[in-house]
Amino acid sequence: MELDQVTYTFARALAFSTPLLWAALGEIMAERAGVVNLGVEGMMVLGAVIGFIVSQATGLPYLGLLFAAVTGALAALIHSFIAIILGANQYISGLAITIFGLGLSGLIGRTWVGQPLQAPMKFVTVPGLSEVPILGPAFFTDQYILTYVGLVTAGLLWFVLYYTRPGLILRTVGESPVAADAVGINVKVVRMLTVVFGGCMAGIGGGYLSIAYRPSWGEGMTNGMGWIALAITIFALWDPLRAVLASFFFGAFFFLSFLLQKMFPPELLTLMPYTFTIVALTLVALGKGRRAFGSPEALGVPYKRGER
C-alpha cells in the first residue's frame, strides 16, 4: 500500500471514529459514576434526527448540534430518573430508551429522509500544519472541527477525572458510594448529572453524523454505533485517553474493511473489534490487572443507604 493511501486511511478513520469517541467519552463518565447506560444508541439516533431537522430548518448547523446535545440530555434524564431515583433495573431502562429512541426517531424523521443538508458543517484544513509531510494529510487535512474538539475534550475529561476534586468525587461515587455518602456527598445527584452529561455527549455524536459526516438523515443511521461506544468504554478500560485510541482502532477497522475488500472479506475484518472486546474483558477478569483495571466497583448497582 502506498504512503498516500496510508495517510488517507488514517484521516478517514479519524473522521469515522469521532462519533464513537463522543459517545464513548460520555459513557465512560457515566460508568465511572457507577451507572450503565444501554440507551446510548437511542440517544445518538435521537440526536441525529433532531440535529438534522433543526439544521435543515434553520440553516444553522451549530444550532442543530446544540439541539442534538439537548435531546440526548433529555433522553438521559428519563433513564437516570428510572434507574437512579426509582432504583429500577438500569440495564433494562437503558435498553428501553434505545428501542424507544430508534422508533421515535424513525417516526419524527420520516418526512426528512433523504434530503441533503443545505448547510452542512464544513471540513477544515489547518493552515500550515497541513503542509507537514505525512502528519499533514493524515491529521490536519479535511477534518471536521468536532473531531478536534472531541480529542481536546478527551484530554480535558482525563484531566478532570484524575486531577480535580469533582473528578475525585465522581470516581468515588462509582467505586465506593458508601465512602462518598459518609462524607456527605449526594450520590444520586452526582450520578444523575453525570448520566445527563453522557446523554449530551451521545447526542452530539449523533448530531455529528447527520450534520457533518453524512449530512442527511436516514432511519437508524447510527447503525449500532452506540453499542460500539459501549464496547469502547470497556475496551478502553474506562479511561478517556485510551478511549481515543480505542475509538480510532474501531474506526480504522471499519474503514479498512471497506478499503481492503478486494483482499480480505470485509466482514471478517469488521468483526475483529467486537472479538477483541470479549478478549479484553476476559484478560481483565483473568489477570492481576483486575484490581487495578477492572470496572468501577459499584457499577450497575443502585445505591441504597444502609445496605452493605
Binding site: 428510572i82 433494562i92 428501542i99 424507544f100 429512541g101 421515535l104 432511519e219 472479506p265 467486537y274
Partner: protein, 371 residues
C-alpha cells in the same frame, strides 16, 4: 425525600398475583395511549389508526396468521429468555443466537443432502445446537470468570451478524445470484410446510408450544428446574444446598440460547428459504424477545401471551406502513414505551406507601436492628 411529607416507603412482603398482572396490563395500556397521542401529533387520527390496525390484524384471517407468524420467533426466543432471566443471566444475545441457528440450518439445507423427513428435523437440531454453542461462550466466561454477560452476549450479536454477511457474500454466496447477497434457495422439498395459503410455518409453531410446555414442566417439576430457581433467587442458598453452579448454569443457558436458535431455523427454513441479510432474518426479534420475557415475569406459559402481543405489534407495524404511511419504526416506539412503563412501575410492586409519625422523624436509613 418522602419523609418530609409524612410518608415513607415500606417494602411489601407479598405481591398478590392479580396486582402483578394489573401493573403489566397497565403498562401496555399506557403505552398504547401514549402512542395514540403520538399518532395525533403526526396528524393521524389515533382512533382511525387503531381501528384500521385491529381490523387488518385481528378481524381478518390473513392478518391473524401474520400476527401468529411474527409471534413464533418471539415465542421461541422469549421462552428461552424466561429461563435465562430466572437464573439472573441477562442474555441480550438472542439476536445473535437466532442468526447462529439460521446458519446451522442453512448449513444442513445447502450442503447435506438428506431426504426431507430427515432433513427438516436435522435442520432444527443443527439450529438448536448452533444457538446453544453461541450462548455457551458468554455463559462460561460469566460462570468461570465473572465476565459481564450483557456485554459479551451483545458482542456475540455483532460477530454473528458479520459472520452471516461474510457467508452470504463469500463462501455461501448463491451460484445463481448476481448483484444481491444471499445464498442459494433451499430445495423446495425442505421448505417448512405452511398452513393453507398463509405464511405460517406450523412445525416451528408446534415446536414453540412444545418448548413452552417443556420449560414449564422443567421449571416447576424437575430437579434441574428446582436448582435453576434456587440459583436465580438465592445463590447463597444454592451453594448451601450443594448445587453445581457451573454445570447447572451452562445447561440452562445452552437451553435458552438453543431456543433462540430454533427461532432462526424457522425464519430461514420457513420464510426466506435461504440465508439472507441478517437484519432481514432477525428483524430485531432478539431484542423484542427480551420484552416478551420481562412481561411474562418468569412464567413460560405467560410468554405465549406476551409473544402474541408483541407479534401483534410487529404485524401492526406492517399495516401502519402500508395503510397509514407511518414508518415501521413505530413498533419500536410502542415496544420501548411498554418497557419503560413496565420498569417504572417496578417500585410499585416492591414497596407500598405508608404514613410515618412526624413526632420523631428518623434518618432515612432503614434500621436493620443491629446494635
Amino acid at each position: 425525600m418522602l419523609e418530609r411529607f409524612g410518608f415513607k416507603l415500606v417494602p411489601r412482603k407479598a405481591v398478590p398475583g392479580y396486582f402483578v398482572f394489573l401493573v403489566s396490563f397497565g403498562a401496555i395500556v399506557a403505552a398504547i395511549v401514549v402512542t395514540g397521542f403520538i399518532f395525533w401529533i403526526y396528524g393521524v387520527n389515533p382512533f382511525a389508526a387503531y381501528s384500521t390496525i385491529v381490523e387488518r390484524t385481528l378481524l381478518n384471517s390473513r392478518g391473524l396468521s401474520e400476527v401468529v407468524r411474527k409471534s413464533i420467533p418471539l415465542l421461541l426466543a422469549g421462552v428461552g429468555l424466561v429461563l435465562a432471566f430466572r437464573a439472573q443471566f441477562w442474555n441480550i444475545g438472542a439476536e445473535g443466537q437466532i442468526l447462529a441457528g439460521a446458519v446451522g440450518a442453512s448449513g444442513i439445507a445447502l450442503f447435506v443432502p438428506l431426504p426431507p423427513f430427515v432433513a427438516i428435523p436435522a435442520m432444527f437440531v443443527a439450529g438448536f445446537v448452533a444457538g446453544a454453542l453461541w450462548g455457551l461462550v458468554p455463559a462460561i466466561l460469566k460462570v468461570r470468570l465473572g465476565v459481564n454477560e450483557i456485554i459479551t452476549t451483545l458482542m456475540m450479536n455483532y460477530i454473528a451478524l458479520y459472520i452471516v454477511r461474510w457467508l452470504i457474500n463469500g463462501p455461501w454466496k448463491g451460484d445463481s445470484v448476481v448483484g444481491f447477497s444471499y445464498s442459494d434457495m433451499f430445495h423446495r422439498s425442505i421448505w417448512l410446510p405452511t398452513i393453507g395459503n398463509t405464511r405460517l410455518h406450523w412445525p416451528t409453531l408446534v415446536l414453540g408450544l412444545l418448548l413452552v410446555v417443556l420449560l414449564a414442566v422443567l421449571i416447576t417439576r424437575t430437579k434441574l428446574g428446582f436448582e435453576i430457581r434456587m440459583l436465580g433467587e438465592s445463590p447463597i442458598a444454592a451453594k448451601y444446598s450443594g448445587v453445581n453452579v457451573l454445570f447447572t448454569t451452562t445447561m440452562l443457558i445452552a437451553l435458552s440460547a438453543g431456543a433462540a436458535g430454533l427461532a432462526g431455523v424457522g425464519e430461514v427454513a420457513g420464510i426466506h428459504h435461504r440465508l439472507v441479510e441478517p437484519n432481514s432474518i432477525s428483524l430485531g426479534f432478539g431484542y423484542t424477545a427480551i420484552i416478551v420475557a420481562m412481561l411474562a415475569r418468569g412464567s413460560p406459559v405467560a410468554a405465549v401471551f406476551t409473544a402474541l402481543f408483541l407479534g401483534w405489534v410487529f404485524a401492526s407495524g406492517d399495516i401502519m406502513k402500508v395503510a397509514l404511511g407511518l414508518p415501521f419504526q413505530i413498533t419500536g416506539v410502542i415496544n420501548g414505551l411498554v418497557l419503560l412503563f413496565m420498569i417504572s412501575s417496578e417500585p410499585l410492586l416492591r414497596f407500598r406507601i405508608a404514613r410515618v409519625s412526624l413526632k420523631n422523624p428518623e434518618t432515612a436509613e432503614s434500621e436493620t436492628g443491629t446494635v
